[in-house]
Symmetry: C2
Subunit: 425 residues, 2 copies
């Protein structure tokens, strides 16, 4: 099945907007085993839209058009499609009712601009928009199903999930089941992981697909099968990957490091306190982004200045003087102070040099000490992330969360980043 | 001048990667008054790349190809371009020297995969890559200048800025000067701003271009002129916008709320302390993302639990019991506590209900109290952001920073968000 995308909008062409819609469409289509053949983006130009719709319709079984359904004069999709199909624009009763209800809920009268959104090419089939005013529609031209969708991602996604994907699934039924398993990993890079799989699983089955998506800080590993015949093989691969990657697996699907840690602590009925210097509150912010974080997190100490480390957490002046703020002794005292002050069961403490200034002899920009554990057992390690300030903070926060996660799960042995991220001396 | 983009890569088609490169290219071209006519993305398929290069070369004066210059077998741009142009691939001495030096700096021997990157279509002109291994190149075909560029954004940007844009500027000289002024605004929405400009400046000159780019939390307003004739008009517009928008202007170019605040406080030699409940450390994290934040920020109190508000900041138990954590009295005591504990000149304190749980009668999810000021004058206001948890935290953090910014600058009168963001009662 040949499926192409046509994205429209001046904001895409001027660089004002980064097009995330086409990636969203491609990811959602994967579950139907449908691939996007090409995606073309053009501006709000009626002649150009008509010409490209005509050309692409001749090349595609399905053409998804995105954008240009709004109320303003540069929203041209309905007009272009009517022109290409050689039909009139007619007021669609269902669309009009939707627009009246939509305006009504906002206490607005239906004006001419909004009413324009009820005009659809004759013969097209309306696609409901649960969120916004702009309905979608589809119509056939030259044997191609042309599907017009709204630009705002918050409207596009529900329309795809609730209407367009079910329709596509019915129209182009999967002959075979598609299963996509997503692992979220931390602490191993894409190339190391590829090498590990290549050497550790040289007999990787041809009908199981492997995919990677490198984010900061997580790496997503995707294992997919596209037939019932391949399902056992896929399950086998998943099992072997689980055994091989063990401690590097944060979770499945959309798990993140903070959500994993909140879940682990909540299950134990325990809490963590944070003592942050170089991350400046980022670890606390990441944890509290998770709904329900208040069950496991009560207190964070952002101790950016040395005198605040002393005052808030009782780090000794002498320790700071003798070892410097970025040292094993100081992060240990920070962690101990956070446990004592907060009453939490666990603490995480970080102190490092985010740069661009602040390097001292033997402690280059990128050096960080992390301490973690509970009152009976605080551990501390030094790492080195010689990257730009913001990425440094992101990596330190993620690493600190991961070290505590490993501790809570009782994972033995050092993760490879503790070997690889050493300060050069 | 007709300029089109061809983006290549399976990762673009599967939705693994959101294409930000094409937006970057478009934004940088704007300074040369060049617009992108269309952008097409396709996968790593040799036949398809050849066919589209051939087709687009016939339609374009300049065709920028992005991606496919790496060392692996799915990097096909050189091969495709040689095929289309009907020339051989030849090893480019300059490219080879670059690759040898690049590998040498990493302590690696030049292997076959990397050496492949020195093979360029005969007759093409090398474009240096200061960052990565993959050099770019350009060659002419059917009167079209085809420019091949690397996929990693960190390599693409310097290559564009240092080589391709200067070459384009020379080849297609601007007949007239282009000036683009960017204002960063907070506290006013895109549609309100458009309405304000429409009614306040009905005589907006035709040769001055106005553009908007809505981010969370800032709104960028762009004012551009494309001829020397239009420059006075542009300057006039800028002056009137400055007068009209005054307190909503955070700064020019790439200024952000945190960078603005760090600059303001640093200039005065003063510091701010943060007391955060519902933002959970986000305000502190935003401030400390700014290089040099340590001059103005020493201490942050993430007081997520009530007993921590009492213990860390001395909020009275009685106040918490009587008024609840999300109340004027509590944020005032939090701010006072932060000033007292930290010794900073200014404090910001926030307490609110980020959701999805936590609503109480009269305090729906989205309610927040913000206090700001110095020891002599702490002010507090209630606002309402009924949005998803993460966006709530982003908006509260930005609003808190803005309220303190207005205070430091002595801006009189309430910003419109204090009127618009009221808790429904």
């Amino acid at each position: 099945m040949t499926l192409n995308l046509l994205m429209t909008g001046n904001e895409l062409m001027s660089g004002v907007t980064v097009d995330s819609n086409s990636a969203l469409i491609a990811r959602l289509l994967e579950a139907l085993n449908m691939r996007v053949g090409s995606k073309l983006a053009i501006g709000d130009d009626l002649a150009q839209i008509c010409a490209e719709v005509e050309r692409l319709a001749g090349l595609s079984e399905v053409l998804v058009v995105n954008g240009g359904l709004g109320p303003t004069s540069d929203d041209l999709s309905s007009e272009a499609l009517a022109r290409v199909a050689g039909v009139r624009l007619v007021e669609n009763a269902e669309a009009l009712a939707h627009l009246e209800a939509w305006c009504g809920r906002r206490g607005l009268a239906l004006n001419a601009a909004n009413r324009k959104q009820a005009l659809l090419p004759a013969g097209s089939v309306l696609i409901p928009n649960r969120v916004g005013s702009a309905v979608g529609f589809r119509l056939q031209h030259r044997g191609c199903e042309i599907v017009c969708t709204p630009g705002p991602p918050g409207e596009l996604r529900p329309m795809l999930e609730e209407h367009i994907l079910p329709w596509l699934a019915e129209r182009y039924p999967l002959r075979e089941p598609v299963v996509i398993t997503r692992f979220q990993l931390f602490g191993i890079g894409e190339s190391s992981l590829q090498e590990l799989i290549r050497s550790g699983m040289p007999d990787w089955p041809a009908d199981v697909e492997l995919g990677f998506r490198a984010g900061a800080p997580l790496l997503e590993l995707k294992v997919s099968s596209f037939s019932s015949r391949a399902e056992d093989a896929r399950r086998g691969c998943e099992e072997r990957l689980r055994a091989m990657l063990e401690g590097y697996i944060i979770g499945m699907a959309d798990t993140t490091l903070p959500s994993c840690l909140v879940g682990l602590l909540a299950a134990r009925g325990e809490r963590v306190a944070l003592a942050e210097s170089c991350t400046g509150g980022l670890i606390a912010a990441l944890l509290t982004e998770v709904p329900g974080a208040s069950r496991v997190f009560e207190a964070g100490y952002v101790v950016y200045a040395n005198r605040i480390k002393e005052r808030m957490l009782g780090v000794s002046h002498e320790t700071l003087e003798r070892h410097g703020a970025v040292s094993e002794q100081v992060v240990r005292e920070m962690a101990a102070g956070a446990l004592r002050e907060s009453g939490a069961e666990y603490a995480l403490a970080v102190s490092g040099i985010a740069g661009p200034d602040g390097a001292t002899p033997g402690k280059p920009v990128g050096t960080v000490w992390i301490a973690w554990g509970n009152a009976g057992n605080i551990r501390a390690r030094e790492l080195y992330f010689p990257v730009a300030r913001k990425l440094f903070q992101t990596m330190v926060a993620a690493t600190a969360l991961d070290l505590l996660r490993r501790d809570l799960l009782g994972i033995e042995g050092d993760p490879r980043y503790l070997r690889e991220r050493r300060v050069p001396r």
